[in-house]
């Protein structure tokens, strides 16, 4: 049971972070389908940081550096989307998809290059970080507390405040709802949209880092992040683009994802004798069902996905 809670919370943390990333981007008016790719690149940044930092680094410094690594990697990568979508009016779905394909490709090419440079026979795309990962974990009586759970919670609260209680957040939302109106009162729509995309890059990258450190101590980058970026988008839609709802939705989805890891620990579930593949499918099936129920009355930002054209009436 403890294990289930632990996994639920860590997967929920991933989903909260990434979904909030999507939330910021979409409130600014840019659809970020590329979160999946951003997660991979963020994970790569963090993993390489863990690999190369000397093992003697103190835990707080380690945490800080690794987070910085993934956040920066995610932000730089998200700029690819930002520039294309905001400056060059590119189709956001298309560019986002390109990001999703580019992310894993870059990660695999880089990691393999690093691995083969270390030893010619090593053509795997795996980065191991078992030692460094320990900095994130605190054992509280059998429960493996991960600092990221706290960080995700803090970011959730911060997002709520930023979006609804600050000038920046309200302006950002204005750019996603009616950019022409926002422009008419002197808000620079382009800048705000860049800000939205960059925040989503930062949170998406961080989410990727949390995902690869949840439970395992090495990551094979060929696997990408297994559709987690899209699950996060489903969480965002389920949460109707509102931080608090996103938090609750993430816990629900996290629970289903965690079940596939730990269902063998529950006698009742084992007794059902379902194939393990079914548990792997569960998060995707649930999200599809959830989407059916919530998409009809969508609260999506009105102008999302539409390139901003100053001259348009």
């Amino acid at each position: 049971m403890l294990l289930l809670i632990q996994y639920t919370l860590i997967f929920a943390s991933v989903l909260v972070l990434v979904a909030l990333g999507g939330c910021f981007s979409e409130h600014g008016g840019v659809i970020n389908i590329g979160l999946e790719g951003i997660m991979v690149i963020g994970a790569l940044g963090g993993a390489l940081m863990m690999k190369y930092l000397p093992a003697v680094t103190s835990a707080p410094l380690m945490i800080l550096c690794v987070i910085l690594g993934s956040v920066l990697a995610g932000m730089v990568f998200s700029l690819l989307l930002g520039v294309a979508a905001i400056r060059f009016n590119a189709d956001q779905t298309l560019v986002g998809t390109a990001l999703n394909l580019m992310g894993p490709a870059i990660a695999v090419v880089l990691v393999r290059a690093i691995n083969t440079a270390e030893s010619v026979d090593n053509v795997s795309s795996t980065v191991a970080y078992g030692e460094a990962k320990k900095a994130f974990l605190v054992n509280i009586g059998g429960f493996e507390f991960n600092w990221f759970m706290l960080i995700a919670l803090l970011i959730l609260i911060a997002s709520y405040i930023v979006l609804y209680k600050t000038k920046f957040g309200l302006r950002l939302c204005a750019c996603g709802e009616h950019p022409q109106a926002a422009d008419s009162v002197g808000i620079n729509v382009y800048k705000m949209r860049y800000a939205g995309v960059l925040i989503s890059g930062a949170l998406g990258g961080l989410g990727g880092l949390v995902y690869i450190t949840a439970g395992v101590s090495e990551w094979k980058f060929e696997n990408g992040v297994a559709g987690f970026g899209f699950l996060a988008l489903a969480v965002m839609i389920f949460g109707q683009w509102k931080p608090v709802n996103i938090g609750l939705a993430a816990v629900l989805f996290g629970l289903f994802r965690a079940l596939s890891n730990v269902y063998t620990g529950f006698d009742a579930l084992v007794a059902l004798n379902l194939p393990s593949t079914l548990y792997n499918m569960l998060p995707y099936i649930i999200s599809l069902l959830v989407l059916i129920f919530v998409s009809k009355k969508s609260r999506a930002p009105k102008a999302e996905g539409i390139p901003y054209d100053k001259g348009q009436r």
Partner: protein, 379 residues
């Protein structure tokens, strides 16, 4: 006066020419980026690696081997062509079918199970692949039409669900000792696509079958359907403006579902003409969706979302993807081709901007010419 000058820029103003130019630019820049990445990893062999990617089957010195692998590349390209047709068909109707990958998976599952498990002849297997994949596509369309579920997200979810289902299904027809499905050849010879003697053309490459011809025929049929029929017109109209289409008496919900069903069927057909050649066995422990469907997105946009353009772009994408396996793996990994094609998709996002920019430049040039012409007239 102006009109006359407007015509003068003729060739460059032609939208088709602009698309081709844009695509060529995408390819060049994509390769350049790949080259730079290779340079960063290891400056020593970067040039050779790019050459290897571009050469692909020409890597083999003997003409016999080269034609044989040319055949293999063509077979893969024909499946890719179907996936890219799937993506572009939906795109023409305003839908983004990122689910081509999942529909392809379902198609593979259906045709392989029928061929290996039920020992059906090839045409039944092929039809089953189309129908099964079409149904999955229709599910996305249905959810979009009736529940407003974003088709991109529902497609991705279905990709994963489909992958796990197919793994479960095909585990029943796998070899005892390996995670691979049995070969069609050993179980059910009638399940293989007929070669019609095409294999002779490619140094007895048994995988070159009638599928190759069918793929090109279907590309042409898709073009006819989209451009020359009432149904195609209705579908496109629905894509432009759902409400206007509804107002004109078109059944917009039916059109959306039908589009996704056709798109799914196309991807399923691709799976059929790939796996029913026996060229590859399905690995039932796969943890990621095959890249074919995603490469289909690259091919669709590189081909300017035109069915006939897709024939060439699919071949090109497959050519460099296959070529990637020939790079020196002591320095680089074959995924460099994936990186290049991903970057090409990214660049395709800029093609529209490129066109607008080009037209503006042409306008300016024409204006200048017109001004000169007027001065000349006054003097």
């Amino acid at each position: 006066m102006n009109r006359a000058f407007g015509k003068k820029g003729g060739l460059l103003r032609n939208s088709g020419v602009q698309t081709v130019l844009g695509s060529l630019l995408c390819i060049l820049l994509g390769l350049l980026v790949g080259f730079i990445v290779l340079l960063i990893i290891n400056p020593g062999g970067a040039g050779e690696a790019v050459a290897a990617i571009l050469k692909n089957f020409l890597y083999y010195p003997s003409a016999v081997a080269a034609t044989k692998y040319f055949g293999t590349t063509l077979v893969k390209a024909s499946a890719l062509l179907m996936c890219s047709l799937s993506v572009l068909f939906a795109w023409k109707v305003g839908l983004f079918n990122i689910g081509a990958a999942g529909q392809y998976v379902i198609g593979s599952g259906a045709c392989l199970y029928l061929a290996l498990g039920l020992k059906m002849p090839w045409y039944i297997c092929l039809i089953a692949a189309v129908v099964a994949a079409g149904l999955v596509g229709a599910v996305s369309g249905f959810l979009k039409a009736y529940f407003n579920v974003n088709e991109v997200i529902s497609c991705i979810m279905l990709n994963w669900i489909g992958l796990y289902c197919v793994n479960m299904l095909l585990a029943q027809v796998k070899e005892q000792s390996t995670p691979y499905t049995r070969t069609i050849k050993s179980v059910n010879g009638g399940g293989l696509l007929p070669t019609l003697g095409l294999d002779k053309l490619f140094s007895n490459n048994e995988f070159v079958t009638v599928g190759l011809v069918l793929a090109v025929v279907i590309a042409i049929l898709v073009w006819i359907l989209l451009e020359k029929t009432k149904l195609g017109y209705e579908l496109k109209a629905t894509g432009f403006n759902k409400n206007a289409a509804k107002y004109c008496g078109m059944r917009e919900k039916r059109n959306i579902i039908l589009t996704m069903a056709i798109a799914g069927g196309l991807a399923g057909f691709g799976a059929g003409i790939f796996y029913l050649t026996g060229i590859e066995q399905w690995m039932v422990q796969q943890t990621s969706v095959p890249a074919m469907g995603f490469n289909g997105i690259a091919a669709a946009f590189l081909g300017g979302t035109h069915p006939l353009g897709a024939i060439f772009s699919s071949y090109f994408i497959q050519h460099i993807t296959s070529g990637g396996t020939y790079v020196d793996t002591t320095m680089y990994s074959s995924q460099i081709s994936d990186l290049i094609s991903a970057f090409i998709i990214y660049l395709c996002g800029f093609v529209l901007f490129f066109k607008v920019w080009l037209n503006k430049r042409l306008d300016k040039r024409d204006e200048k010419l017109a001004a000169k012409g007027q001065k000349g007239g006054e003097a």
